[in-house]
Symmetry: C2
């Protein structure tokens, strides 16, 4: 899932995303709650209509962004008080409020409000964090079930409503992860995510946690690993059975001039590309590689031109989506 | 002509420009000379190939940009010494050097090196400036004729080469303008531009200068008014017989949130558009007006998203190009 934080996958127009084959994009609840506000988006018919994206969308719970972006956050059993990174204004998020905001946004998939355990965290801290996440999961689910019918587009889609996914936390402790997964499955969410990974831990640990949790999750529901990863990671996880992933990496790296290619990473700012007439990736069929040279992309970076972020992002997204398309194709032909 | 200063019409991909019907875009010699350098562009096959723009291009002479952007410029009969606005490095432009740079860039149309007379300028200053412009026009033409065969794509296009346009200056003095036009016509350029307008003078004066000079210029060659203007101006000048115009206004205004519409100017940042579900321009059929709302465009501005500049620019360019398309259609059906 390309990440469209504030209602736009940065620098990439929606029709381009469609033509690249993006079937679902992510919006960040924290950002959209602050600007333009979830009530505004509800008044405008929900997030799909607001940003003109007819395909699927997912919103996160706001929890991770609250923890990573906001100042002066204070966590209690009830919820999280935090200050906006934009203007310092004070806000209070509870599981119930996160559900209200996400129902107003109206993405196809909403996420339970969780606490993302930091890394490293000792066992006591991980247990305490997990206790909070599991209590908040139940409260999220209860509130969501009571209000899911309120989504603004319900009547337009034969009474269909949103889906709610639970998030498996537990730090880097496999028994806590197992315990969390089992408890969430009993609650019967519409899908399950593995959160709290790619937070600074070594990659073997990420892999160990996914390998531990994934087999526990129901195969007939989507299984989503949050916030990963590099191209080889997403391929590896997809082949292990992960159905969904999201990451800002392809677009954020693109804006900094880092291209993912079949020949490895290309730092397009490098002087050696100044007169390189080859495409960014000789093996890539995306609209950028078909049309532009490395020399031109380097020039756009050097001059700080807006088109740089657009073209680099289009290529990186095409590269990521291409990996997933190949994985899907190979799974489809497996006996 | 949309303006593509540094080899990109800011924030708009080339395929979008094509689909909007842009037949010719402008590149700024001063910017491209500094970055990535004209020799680099020549090595890469010329400007068309470098930026992947198969349609027509025009480069200015660099003169206007030297006067408006660079520091410590010093004008002599020979040329202009100036410091780069980027790094303060010292450069010397002569008519011959401007031709060499423009031949290396290889646009379809190159412009004679001129001195743009500032406004207001007294008669002595305007006469002196005009003397320089006319001497430089001859030197530009001589050097261009001697070297036009060196354009890098010559063999690819059956020996065709670039065109060189002369620029009518003369400040706001109609007799100086006439004198300049007559002298340039004797030199026999491939086309003629009226420069030194839209430099701060009242609009009636702009109009008076165009009305004075235009009838003098050969009708069988392109007549180009440089650096104009607002939507009603370009329509007015086109109906007077002007064949070509360029202006940064549609794209620069777009990046600042100013949209040109059939209902007048729309400052898309205004709070009253926060929940406006209408298209930017109800009468416009461009890809932005077909897909996005004023509320969404306002949100993109508010959040400083890159997509804002892209979508606003696409609409404004569509609006400008639409004016010219309608003028052309109405001229074509005149008896």
């Amino acid at each position: 899932m390309p990440v469209g934080t504030a209602g736009t996958v940065k620098a990439v127009p929606q029709d381009t995303l469609e033509s690249l084959g993006a079937e679902i994009i992510l919006g960040n609840t924290y950002h959209l709650y602050l600007r333009p506000g979830h009530e505004t988006i509800r008044n405008l018919g929900g997030l799909h209509r607001f940003i003109s994206w007819p395909r699927a969308m997912l919103t996160d719970s706001g929890g991770f962004q609250v923890f990573s972006l906001s100042a002066l956050r204070k966590v209690t059993d009830d919820g999280v008080r935090f200050r906006s990174h934009l203007d310092g204004s004070s806000h209070f998020f509870t599981p119930e409020h996160s559900m209200d905001v996400q129902i107003a946004l109206g993405a196809d998939i909403a996420m339970a409000f969780d606490e993302c355990t930091e890394y490293p965290a000792d066992r006591n801290r991980a247990e305490e964090s997990l206790r909070l996440t599991m209590a908040w999961a139940q409260r999220s689910l209860d509130h969501f079930r009571a209000h899911r019918d309120e989504v603004v587009w319900r009547d337009e889609f034969q009474g269909k409503t949103q889906n709610l996914f639970g998030i498996v936390q537990g730090g880097m402790y496999t028994d806590l992860r197992r315990q969390c997964a089992e408890r969430l499955i009993e609650m019967n969410f519409d899908g399950y995510a593995i959160g709290g990974l790619s937070v600074g831990e070594p990659r073997e640990l990420t892999l160990e946690m996914i390998a531990e949790v994934l087999p526990l999750l129901p195969k007939d529901k989507p299984r989503y690993v949050m916030g990963v990863g590099y191209p080889d990671e997403i391929e590896q996880y997809a082949r292990m059975g992960v159905d969904m992933m999201d990451c800002v990496l392809p677009t954020r790296a693109a804006r900094h001039g880092l291209l993912f290619t079949s020949e490895g990473r290309v730092n397009i700012k490098a002087k050696r590309y100044a007169e390189d007439q080859g495409p960014p990736d000789p093996a890539c069929d995306c609209p950028v590689c078909r049309r532009y040279t490395r020399a031109y992309l380097r020039h756009l970076m050097q001059t700080g031109e807006a088109l740089s972020g657009t073209l680099n992002s289009i290529h990186n997204l095409a590269y990521y989506l291409g990996i997933m398309q190949r994985v899907r194709a190979s799974l489809a032909t497996q006996p």
